[in-house]
């Protein structure tokens, strides 16, 4: 009994310490964040690795999510003779929720895990120590470009995801199910607000990006220098990244749309 309590206490304390270390890690990162803009090549390489290489999965997922939304929305709305509203429904659900959230989830799986594995391996093969030996600050040289790249790239990917999803919904609703073309777009413009829906969606995805970047980089930094340790750290990045995105989404939705 006592032993169990002790184990719970130890577990809680170690979680708390990890949270503290993550906070310190983010704090240490902040002063270096301007640096990648001076060394633009480092930044470009990370934007390419995390962003451009994520494009195929984002494009396909966006298109299919939009098509499914169009199909499901049509099936419900046709009963009320208001199938033109399918455009509004698709656009609003993509802009407010699905665009930012699904993009962030896909990004964690596609790029977040890779970042963790990369940094974990750098640590286990002592490349980070080697950089320090050469008087190159790994925070500025390794962590800051990756952090800035993720924060820049995720909102861009979310925008692309959303736009393509709406096009997917358009293809299904107008091209296949015969919803009126003009009504589809004009209803959408009438109900979608630039400030409330588009800008808030982008703010959401910036918040998700910061979370994903901190989790991925911190787990890589924390990973025990063994192959098993790196694999656990990668798993933790995906799990904590995804759950955090969903939890943050709830908080942000409650703040923004109430």
């Amino acid at each position: 009994m006592i032993r169990m309590l002790r184990a719970i206490g130890r577990w809680g304390l170690s979680r708390l310490r990890a949270a503290g270390r993550a906070g310190l890690f983010l704090f240490g990162l902040l002063p270096a964040l301007a640096y990648p803009f001076w060394r633009i090549r480092l930044l470009l390489k990370q934007v390419y690795n995390t962003g451009t290489l994520s494009l195929p999965i984002i494009l396909t997922a966006g298109l299919f999510v939009g098509m499914v939304l169009g199909l499901q929305g049509y099936n419900v709305l046709v009963d009320y003779n208001s199938e033109e509203a399918v455009g509004t429904m698709t656009a609003l659900s993509l802009l407010r929720e699905l665009g930012p959230v699904v993009t962030a989830l896909l990004f964690v799986g596609r790029a977040g895990s890779a970042l963790t594995a990369e940094i974990g391996l750098m640590r286990s093969t002592e490349q980070l120590s080697a950089l320090e030996m050469m008087a190159v600050d790994p925070v500025r040289f390794i962590f800051a470009p990756r952090f800035v790249a993720v924060v820049l790239v995720v909102p861009l990917l979310a925008l692309i995801f959303t736009a393509l999803g709406i096009l997917g919904g358009y293809l299904v609703a107008v091209g296949w199910l015969g919803v009126d073309d003009g009504a589809f777009w004009s209803q959408m413009t009438a109900h979608v607000d630039w400030q409330d829906d588009v800008v808030n969606g982008v703010i959401k995805s910036v918040v998700f990006a910061v979370w994903v970047a901190v989790v991925a980089l911190f787990q890589g930094e924390e990973a025990p220098p063994t192959s098993e340790g790196v694999s656990y750290a990668t798993t933790r990045t995906v799990v904590q990244g995804s759950l955090g995105v969903l939890a943050l989404d709830f908080v942000l939705t409650a703040l923004m749309f109430n």
Partner: protein
């Protein structure tokens, strides 16, 4: 193509796609185009007995054409009636005996203010009030009236 050129090309593709997506969301999907070209407006007020489900930013229509938006809804403390202020496009001048009524677009649609211009020579100026107003139709009241009429007519038959 060397590695750096490939990276630059890839990042360029990403940025161009994102810009295209943003442009589409702004122009085609949201009301950004309408918000951006803010045309000069003037303010009109109107008292209503009941505004039903009217909301701020609801359209103000003249013969079905949107000429303005509701800018605020409140209660006039002096007579406890609803006070609706709306911003009307300066291009449209309205006679002083214009009447305003709260209408519904379709059976389940949003509510809007419909204006019916009168024949007066004088025009409404900034800050003026529309005197002739008609409240929103409240379904419960309507059913109530209907029931009263039905029972009345039954009484006549006997």
């Amino acid at each position: 193509m060397d590695k750096q050129a490939k990276i630059e090309l890839g990042v360029g593709v990403l940025v161009v796609l994102a810009a295209a997506a943003l442009f589409m969301l702004a122009m085609k999907v949201s009301n950004f185009a309408a918000v951006a070209q803010d045309r000069p407006t003037y303010t009109l007020k109107a008292h209503f007995d009941n505004i039903g489900g009217l909301k701020v930013r609801a359209p103000v229509k003249l013969s079905g054409v949107v000429i303005g938006r509701v800018s605020s809804i409140g209660i006039d403390r002096s007579n406890y009636r609803a006070l609706v202020t709306m911003k009307i496009d300066r291009a449209y001048e309205l006679p002083t005996d214009t009447s305003a009524s709260i209408l519904t677009s379709g059976l389940l649609g949003d509510q809007y203010i419909g204006l019916e211009p009168g024949g007066d020579d004088e025009m409404l100026a900034d800050g003026d009030e529309i005197e002739l107003t008609q409240s929103a139709l409240v379904l419960e009241d309507l059913i109530g009236q209907f029931l009263v009429k039905m029972s009345d007519s039954k009484g006549d038959d006997k």
